[in-house]
Amino acid sequence: MENAMVSLSNELAKLVERFQPDVVAVHARPHYPSSGVLWRPDIIVTADHTVRREEDIQVTLSDGRTVDAALVGRDPGSDVAALRVKDLGAPIAHPTTEARGSDPVKTGELALVLGRSPDSGPNAGLGIISAVSGPWRTWRGGRLDHYIRLDATLFPNSSGGMVVDCRGQILGIATSALSRIAGLAIPASSVNRVMDGLLDKGYVARGYFGIGVQPVAVPEALREKLSLPNQSGVMVVSIEPGGPADRAGVVLGDIVVGLGDTSLEGIEDLQSFSDSGAIGKPVKARLIRAGAAAEVMITVGERPAR
């Protein structure tokens, strides 16, 4: 009996068969292995929160072999970690992992979450994309190109697995650690961006001013007097001695209202700027100092490792 259910069932099983050779099990924490995806030649991506040790990491491949993997780098902000396995070769099912560019992911699309368990081999979860939005900052501080919420059940070993749409395009990497209410897909484009940083430096470099700030409202009178577009800005409440802002002459009590050509309304604007690859470049900071407008040139530093 051929029917729509049979064809859907076949298509789903074929997608699993096609992509499962590039999905591995990752052994980097006690008790529960997680999953990972062969993303570039010799490079496996997994969910950073499932990497609980930095040495003695193994991966179980689709042929059943368990081999050693080295941690290349990790970015807790976006929950992406990269592992290297010698002589593993290029991904089989997806020679290049391009983001689904021109055609945005839509709410309601079917998505498969593919993982691997050392006990039973490949595994698959099915659900729909239950919400999509534009750029989004995770509670861990990383910036993702999209918020893609999954309604598939994520099991303990699903994190780090591959999220595939029904046309066979890779949407991203599954993680259960970025939302309390649902699993998310870390978008493929974000994985690619983070990966570039990890392969280059072992971490994702973030811009650094060396200031602690507090958001404050800009009084109406001051807005008019200085003809500012800002409703609010951020007041400098601490300064790292010798840091970029200190060297530029920023003092406690300064209110930052703009960076470069953009106005700065709150902490998120400051964080977005810190992500933007401005490291080493001078940027003009517009301030309110003692009720008057002021400008300083700050050379953006790189956030030190903690």
Binding site: A4, S9, N10, D119, S120, N123
Partner: protein
């Protein structure tokens, strides 16, 4: 949207799904495997004290049309949690058994059963994985993303064509675990036969001759079963089989597998833990081969 879909497949499957009641053990589900009264279900649904070929007053099977029949245990295998029952009914609608070795991860599946006594409930999802589960030994399970509840046990898990690929048996971390249908087919072919000792046991630590070891305490002895004929009593503690120490319940279940009539020597203690006794138990295996 109109197509031959879940509804029709579910309706066909419902006609081959029954409810199995076994007195104290509560309710489960069963699969009609042959039109002249053969029902496959889980061994844990049937309960532990019935012996094959012996009428068990508590065991009854209710068909989808509401009619009810007494059931008799024909064969079982507790290692694979399978049982075969026969009811005095004809012209039943048997389910079609598929080849579970052909099932692939990602395929759509549907479970039908009587969760919490609600008859004929349907749930669908995909096959999440096929293989071992950590902590559940070396046996192969079909692990499906279907919502099961107590009462689904023994019922069919079918593929998109409606062919039965597994028997829903338990839930682990939200996944429905099903015994592959090829194991059910082997039981029907008489290949997975397991003799019944006719005892209910529970693992206990025993200290015999200064050494701590596993014992299986006999909690109950079935009337008319092999253990009763061999004069085993409740309170006896089984400690060995054919002279080898028991290390798990699986050792006992494994020793009972096979379809020949034979004698099994079982070591046990009664009262004095330092005195190990031995008893010869004649095992019967009724011929079962459902063509």
């Amino acid at each position: 949207m109109s197509f031959t879909g879940f509804g029709e497949v579910a309706e066909r499957l419902r006609r081959s799904t029954v409810q199995v009641a076994s007195g104290r053990r509560g309710l489960g589900s069963g699969i009609v495997v042959k039109s002249d009264g053969f029902i496959a279900t889980n061994a844990h649904v049937v309960g532990p004290v019935v012996a094959p070929g012996v009428d068990n007053p508590g065991l009854s099977v209710q068909l989808p049309d509401g009619s009810s029949f007494p059931g008799r245990l024909e064969a079982r295998n507790t290692r694979r949690d399978l049982a075969l029952l026969r009811i005095p009914a004809l012209n039943l609608t048997p389910a079609t058994l598929g080849d579970s070795d052909d099932l692939r991860v990602g395929e759509l599946v549907m479970a039908v059963g009587n969760p919490l006594g609600f008859m004929g409930a349907v749930t669908t999802g995909i096959v999440h994985a096929i293989g071992r589960r950590p902590g559940l030994g070396p046996t192969k399970w079909i692990q499906a993303e279907v919502q099961l509840a107590p009462g689904n046990s023994g019922g069919p898990l079918a593929d998109a064509r409606g062919n039965v690929v597994g028997m829903n048996t338990m839930v682990a971390e939200g996944l429905g675990l099903a015994v592959p249908s090829n194991a059910v087919a082997r039981l029907l072919a008489g290949e997975l036969q397991q003799a019944s000792l006719g005892v209910v046991v529970r693992g206990v630590p025993v200290r015999t001759r200064g050494a701590e070891r596993l014992g299986l305490a006999v909690l109950d002895v079935a009337t008319g079963g092999a253990a009763e004929f061999a004069s085993l009593r409740a309170g006896d503690i089984l400690v060995g089989i054919e002279g080898r120490d028991l290390r798990s319940l699986d050792d006992l279940e494994g020793a009972l597998e096979g379809n020949q009539e034979r004698v099994l020597r079982v070591q046990f203690v009664r009262g004095d833990p330092n005195k190990i006794r031995s008893v010869a138990i004649r095992l019967h295996c009724p011929e079962v081969a459902v063509a």
